[in-house]
């Protein structure tokens, strides 16, 4: 895995957005060969979406030949509810860019047959040629999408009941009224995301630090489902300083590339000089 550490949220968002932009541009998508992008929701990727919109408005990035697949959607929430993930994607991303509506895919939490909806979603991903780059976030409990602690690490798109932690975390979007927060979601599975050719996880803020620690410094564990990506050939974790607060200094330094061999060599040389000066002094005193 690659751990990219930026100083703050804005820089991390910018780095991630540039990476996505460069991947799409270098892929040179066409009508016969779309770039398939997996997308997250929540507060973490907002800065990244803003930057992507900026690049689009500058003329540097077009989404005309990009297909998107969102990770999840609440069950039973009307599609035009301001907190639905359809509303989120429309307001924060789709309405500002040139993506074609039929190229966007978000699970329908109001489908009459939820299982069939999940199976169909998996088929749509396959039909699109698989996901080129799946962008995701991490919950404070280490979940990827809504794969709550205890989810199978080879799971596919399915209905999930939300953990209490997640419901509490989401309450702020529903007027802090726990009874209004949806309790079930449709979500891609850990296995679904693992199938992507590349995975990029965005993690910012001190409240995610422990989850990041569990995800990359401990073992693969279904209680911290993001840890599954330790076994993916091409994963990038993009984070800010605050998110690294629970990591070992050694890990952070390694990925920042700040382990210096100069310190050792300068110590060696300064030791030599001191010895040489001592010898010179001694010689002088001997000669005197």
């Amino acid at each position: 895995m690659r751990l990219v550490i930026l100083d703050d949220y804005d820089l991390a968002s910018e780095w991630a957005a540039k990476y996505i932009r460069n991947r799409i541009v270098q892929f040179k998508p066409t009508a016969d060969r779309y770039f398939t992008l997996g997308l997250p929701t929540g507060s973490t990727p907002l800065g990244c979406y803003r930057k992507l919109i900026e690049y689009h408005k500058n003329g540097d990035l077009s989404f005309k030949y990009v297909k998107t697949f969102n990770m999840d959607e609440y069950v039973g929430l009307p599609r035009d509810h301001p907190e639905s993930y359809h509303s989120y994607m429309w307001n924060n991303f789709f309405k500002h860019i040139d993506i074609e509506p039929q190229n966007t895919h978000i699970l329908d939490g109001n489908a009459s047959d939820l299982q069939a909806e999940c199976a169909a979603f998996e088929q749509q991903i396959t039909a699109a040629g698989g996901i080129e780059l799946f962008v995701g976030g991490i919950g404070p409990d280490g979940h990827i999408a809504f794969n709550e602690p205890g989810s199978s690490l080879v799971s596919r798109t399915r209905v999930k009941t939300l953990a209490k932690d997640t419901i509490v975390a989401n309450a702020r979007f529903f007027g802090n009224d726990l009874s209004k927060v949806p309790t079930m979601t449709l979500t891609v599975g850990v296995g679904t995301v693992m199938d992507a050719r590349e995975v990029m996880i965005l993690i910012t803020g001190a409240h995610k630090a422990f989850a990041l620690y569990k995800a990359i410094e401990e073992g693969v564990n279904h209680m911290w489902t993001v840890s599954a990506f330790q076994q993916h050939p091409r994963t990038i974790f993009v984070c800010d300083e605050d998110a690294t607060l629970e990591l070992r200094v050694k890990t952070v330094k390694y990925f920042k590339g700040t382990i210096s061999t100069k310190i050792l060599s300068s110590n060696f040389f300064s030791t030599l000089i001191i010895i040489k000066n001592m010898l010179l002094e001694h010689q002088i005193s001997i000669f005197e």
């Binding site: 035009d80 429309w90 307001n91 789709f94 074609e100 509506p101 966007t104």
Partner: protein, 417 residues
């Protein structure tokens, strides 16, 4: 403002976006629209004369715009609604001479330039034969390239106070005899096409008339009246919800009997109801300080009206209004030979700008006082006076000085500067 066709060309065949309707979709971009009481950087989408929900279009129909219109960062607001306008450009709605419909149509076309997309042609106190002749002629109708739409007639009189008649001719004033309803029908003849009636509630037997009119969905407005606050409150209990040009033609506010003005802060308004009040913000009919007091006391009820007279849009001189002569001097219009004001010659957009300037209110509040509030007053805010999805696409494009640059009715451009 540039219009360009989006999509289609480069990649060849475009999939059809017609799942609900074949009608073309226009997207207005680079604009700030008045929505949820705020100016927001949002695009405005229009299809088949209504404001379209782009999110629904995107997810349900997988549709996209056929035309994009660049608004050059200007403001888009709902079209203005004038509920009190007596005529203009030489036309007097209360003069039944000639082709009354053509006269109203002429004014309806000209007021598009002021950003007015809907209005209530107003008839001042007149003899019954005038009402019998004119009321059936002025039908409720949609606006379009021919002019602003008519939401209904405003009958200002003749059941008003003699002492507070203002410019209304005394010989045609009336009182209610026995039952208010019979008087109404005898005087007016028909009540179809009528949207508002101004009357003085202190007249005996007015209660029955107020109830009858409110029951028919006609807005009852208190004005040209000597009523004290308790008489006004009783009228509101019976269904009155508007005050005609606040401060003018009524008792002045007094701290021991606030009169009709006291309705702005009355605690005897039935729950769920609100009293609206018209203000002529031409800088002449109301002192800016009085305008500010009213606005601060009850901002949600303020409805800007022009009360424009025949001479609006004409050069200075003598002209006729109802059955009387009036005299234009600069921005003032007097009853000829007196210093009694006889309606105003300010246009609606001038009133909006003046209101904003002297009250220091927000741009949004000034625009809503001329669009949302009159629509709420008339009970048509589910299709007029807002830019909500599904409402009629009657809107105006303004620059930051609140000068109207373009007017649209049902999504079609009907005037541009």
């Amino acid at each position: 403002m540039s219009v360009f066709k989006c999509r289609g060309g480069i990649s060849g065949e475009m999939p059809s976006n017609k799942s609900v309707s074949d009608a073309p979709i226009t997207q207005f971009v680079s604009c700030r629209i008045l929505k949820d009481h705020r100016l927001q950087w949002e695009d405005l989408w229009v299809r088949e004369g209504k404001i379209l929900n782009p999110e629904k279009l995107f997810f349900d129909e997988e549709g996209f715009a056929d035309h994009k219109v660049d608004c050059g960062n200007k403001i888009i607001a709902p079209g203005f609604i004038d509920v009190q306008i007596n005529g203009g450009y030489g036309i007097d709605f209360s003069q039944a001479s000639g082709d009354i419909r053509r006269g109203v149509a002429q004014v309806a076309k000209k007021i598009l330039e002021h950003g007015v997309t809907s209005f209530c042609p107003t008839l001042v106190t007149s003899p019954p034969d005038i009402y019998h002749k004119v009321i059936p002629e002025l039908r409720v109708q949609d606006g379009g390239p021919e002019g602003a739409g008519i939401l209904g007639i405003h009958l200002e009189g003749p059941f008003i106070s003699e002492q507070k008649r203002g410019a209304h001719p005394p010989k045609f004033l009336r009182t209610f005899k026995a039952g208010g309803v019979a008087d109404l029908m005898e005087t007016y003849g028909h009540l179809d096409n009528v949207a508002l009636v101004t009357l003085a509630p202190e007249l005996a037997n007015s209660a029955a008339a107020i109830r009858e009119l409110s029951g028919r969905g006609i807005v009852v407005s208190l004005g040209h009246s000597m009523a004290d606050l308790s008489q006004a409150e009783e009228a509101v209990q019976n269904g009155a919800i508007f005050i005609t040009h606040l401060f003018n033609a009524m008792l002045p506010f007094h701290h021991r009997d606030p009169g009709i003005v006291g309705l702005l802060t009355s605690d005897r308004i039935p729950p769920g109801r609100m009293v609206y009040y018209g203000m002529i913000a031409d800088g002449i009919h109301t002192h800016p300080a009085a305008l500010r007091i009213a606005h601060r006391a009850h901002p949600a009820g303020l409805v800007l009206v022009t009360d424009a007279v025949t001479a609006m849009g004409l050069p200075p001189g003598q002209h006729s209004l109802g059955q009387q002569q009036i005299d234009i001097q600069g921005l003032h219009a007097y009853v000829a030979g007196t210093t009694t004001l006889s309606g105003s010659i300010a246009t609606m957009d001038m009133c909006v700008r003046h209101f904003r300037e002297v009250s220091g209110c927000t741009v949004e509040a000034a625009l809503e006082a001329a669009s949302l509030h009159p629509a709420q007053l008339l009970g048509v805010s589910n299709r007029k006076g807002t830019l909500e999805f599904g409402t009629d696409a009657d809107f105006i494009v303004l620059d930051d000085t609140l000068t109207v640059r373009e007017t649209y009715i049902a999504g079609q451009q009907v005037w541009r500067k």
